[in-house]
């Protein structure tokens, strides 16, 4: 318990010290041996680092995390699981063919090794970043994952390992790619969640912030962690199945046209996917242009 004392200097430990009056500051600067203005005469301004700002910024500007609580540990475990699955899937869906290293070296073996190293590096830095809760390693991991998928693919989804024969079915291939994409986004979110909840937990324990009804808040996050990827995956599946959906729709009017579309190289290639995506872009852009989220929210809030 804090004791009452006439001296209040202790209250300012670690806090910003106001700059001294100009005359004294000047004097102090002249009087010191080095001729510099004393550091504590200059107000300190804390600016979030680049990494912090990219990751959404901390709740409390600068702090060291306290040991992880149960919620954070659970998120870390989830993150490790997703990371392993994502690593395996990345390796499967991104063969070395078409990668930058294949183009540079011209050797399949070297490109394979390099691709494997990139994926392993992404997993390793991801593990380390999640374990130490260091955003820099997480960012490195994100970059490596994205780097591993950047390859010239000639519109074809090819697999480096096809133990279960996914390559035989276009639908299964699409599912695999969607799962891979959802896992990547989940990894982004979970690793980010580790940081966010570590910050929150530390803030709670240092009494920087008080949380009322923690269980409800965490419960809502957990629900979102399940629902959002499911919805994202389902909608992505619909978008990516444009080469099936579009001919089916067209077949209502013209069977022949539908057949031609089904056999169209463009529609089953990446451009078909792009076309589906374009629809999504247009719809989403329209929704935002109409400020639908706010209107929807207002409607939901004002309804009795």
């Amino acid at each position: 318990m804090a004791t009452k004392s006439g001296d209040t200097a202790h209250l300012y430990d670690g806090k910003t010290v106001r700059s001294s009056a100009p005359s004294r500051k000047k004097l102090a600067g002249q009087a010191s041996a080095t001729g510099e203005i004393p550091k504590d005469a200059i107000p300190t301004v804390e600016i979030p680092t680049f990494i912090e700002s990219l990751l959404g910024g901390p709740l409390v500007p600068k702090m060291k995390f306290l040991p992880a609580d149960k919620m954070v540990q659970n998120l870390q475990l989830g993150c490790y699981g997703v990371l392993i699955a994502l690593g395996i899937l990345t390796y499967i869906v991104t063969p070395a063919v078409g990668t930058l290293w294949f183009a540079l070296t011209g050797s399949m073996a070297i490109a394979n090794v390099l691709q494997l190293m990139v994926v392993a590096g992404a997993i390793g830095t991801g593990f380390w970043g999640t374990m130490t809760r260091d955003a820099r390693f997480m960012l490195a991991s994100y970059i490596l994952f994205i780097l591993s998928v950047m390859r010239f693919a000639s519109s074809k989804v090819s697999l480096s390992q096809d133990l279960f024969g996914f390559g035989d079915s276009q639908f299964l291939l699409t599912i695999l790619v969607v799962i891979y994409a959802v896992l990547l986004v989940m990894y982004f979110e979970l690793s980010n969640g580790v940081l966010r909840f570590s910050m929150l937990d530390t803030s709670i324990r240092t009494r920087e912030v008080y949380v009322m009804n923690v269980k409800k808040i965490i419960g809502k996050y957990h629900r979102s962690l399940v629902i959002n990827p499911l919805i994202a995956g389902t909608l992505a599946m619909i978008v990516l199945s444009v080469n099936t959906i579009l001919p089916a729709f067209v077949s209502l009017f013209s069977e022949q046209m539908a057949l031609r579309m089904e056999e169209s190289v463009e529609l089953i290639s990446v451009y078909g996917v792009a076309l589906g995506t374009l629809f999504v872009f247009i719809v989403v852009g329209g929704l935002f242009a109409l400020d639908l989220p706010t209107h929807l929210q207002s409607w939901r809030e004002n309804k009795e």
């Binding site: 200097a9 001294s20 100009p22 986004v185 008080y210 996050y221 979102s224 992505a236 872009f281």
Partner: protein, 437 residues
């Protein structure tokens, strides 16, 4: 509003989409699609409400229905609007959600930087149900005098992933005043040479017409027979008379230096902090003695409180001291020229200044002394504050200290009661030192 995270994800998705088309890579496009769907879903259904909110001052909180059409409103109540330094204020913040939807709110009640949260928290993360309200209670410790304002209340609503948020400041403000803390003084050794006499006045430790016994002395011709102490005469065989303390009041003038230079040193330890505390303590002491006390603060302008007595005067002085800001550089000579015609000759004048950066100090105090004013100077040493805070090196300190000592000696030579008030010295000790006790 998009957060940095959602902006980053959005940019990444666009980049991947374009790159996917360029490289004819459907994986990249798929990732872009998933990210977009993720963002859209969070934006549409993530509960990032438009916090159309309004706030009202606590005094308007009379139980009536809120004016706000809005969803979230805040009201605040303070336990006290006037406290002394190191005192505490309990704050009750009432948050109401008028909408039909529950919200996860981040609420931060802005507290002045110099204050410390002692109990509770002013930063709350909470789930506020539909048409529900909650009370947030916390206590702040106020270590420094001044006029302060609590507020605004910053409210933020965001989706569970922190992708989109809405922020709003509810302009609910509560002002309060922190008076400088006071030291109990037993004696100040300050008295007027030309006291005013009136019925009911207090004694001033000088012999004269009064009711309290002061001392015994030998009888002189002209003394009243009624004053003869017959017991003393019986003991000593000489005629002795009782002297009584003179009942009177003094006009005391307190001059506080609040120029920019007076704030030299750390926030909690500088000449202005010490001067205001000393002035408050002295005012309390003199007013308790039923003296008439006036206050002058000078910084960027000369602000004066006319001499008066009583508790109300103490409140007026404390309020002025609480609001004294360190700014400007009005020389003491200006103050002297302005007040000289208005103060009674011989009145005690107490100057509280660090004596820095003012070339008129010597002439100003000489003017006071030339008119036979009883001048006491308490000078909190900014050098010591700076040296303690390690902003001055030893050589600089020694040089400046020597200059200061020379100035103090010069002022002492003018007959000014002056004390170099070091940081750890009590006010009573400094006063006694100044008065040569």
């Amino acid at each position: 509003m998009w957060s940095r995270k959602s902006a980053m994800l959005g940019s990444l998705a666009v980049a991947m989409y374009l790159l996917g088309l360029t490289l004819r890579n459907s994986q990249l496009v798929t990732i872009a699609v998933v990210i977009f769907v993720f963002l859209t879903w969070a934006a549409l259904f993530g509960g990032h409400a438009d916090v159309a909110a309004s706030g009202r001052r606590a005094e308007e909180w009379a139980g009536e229905e809120g004016v706000s059409l809005s969803n979230v409103s805040a009201m605040r109540k303070l336990s006290s609007a006037r406290i002394f330094e190191d005192g505490e204020v309990s704050v009750t913040l009432r948050m109401q959600n008028h909408s039909a939807l529950g919200k996860i709110l981040e609420v931060k009640d802005r507290v002045p930087e110099v204050m410390r949260i002692k109990d509770g928290a002013n930063y709350i993360l909470m789930e506020l149900g539909p048409r529900r309200e909650t009370f947030i209670e916390y206590t702040v410790e106020c270590p420094l005098r001044g006029f302060y304002s609590l507020g605004p209340v910053a409210v933020r609503v965001q989706d569970p992933f922190g992708l989109f948020h809405k922020e709003k400041e509810l302009h609910v403000y509560n002002d309060f005043l922190v008076f400088p803390k006071m030291e109990d003084l037993k004696d100040t050794f300050v008295k007027s040479r030309v006291p005013k006499i009136f019925t009911g006045a207090v004694n001033i430790r000088q012999p004269g017409p009064g009711s309290e016994f002061y001392s015994l002395r030998e009888y002189f011709e002209g003394d009243s027979f009624r004053a003869i102490n017959w017991s003393a005469y019986a003991r000593s065989g000489k005629l002795m008379v009782n002297e009584r303390e003179r009942d009177a009041v003094s006009d005391i003038i307190l001059i506080v230096d609040s120029r920019a230079v007076s704030e030299t040193g750390p926030v909690s330890r500088n000449a202005l902090v010490y001067s205001t505390r000393a002035a408050a303590s002295l005012a309390k002491y003199f007013l308790g003695r039923r003296d008439s006390v006036g206050l002058i603060t000078y910084g960027d302008e000369v602000v004066s409180v006319d001499r008066d007595t009583g508790k109300k005067q103490l409140y007026v002085i404390l309020t002025k001291l609480a609001g004294a800001m360190a700014r400007g550089n009005v020389p003491l000579q200006v103050v002297v020229n302005r007040i000289l015609p208005h103060i009674n000759k011989g009145s005690p004048i107490i100057v509280l200044s660090n004596l820095e950066d003012d070339p008129t100090i010597v002439t100003a105090l000489r003017d006071f002394r030339a008119r036979d004013f009883d001048v006491t100077v308490l000078s909190p040493s900014s050098l010591e504050f700076e040296f303690d805070a390690k902003r001055l090196d030893r050589t600089g300190y020694e040089v400046l200290k020597t200059e200061r000592d020379v100035l103090i000696s010069e002022l002492r030579g003018l007959g000014v009661n002056i004390m170099d008030w070091e940081p750890d010295m009590l006010l009573s000790t400094a006063l006694a030192g100044a008065r040569g006790f």
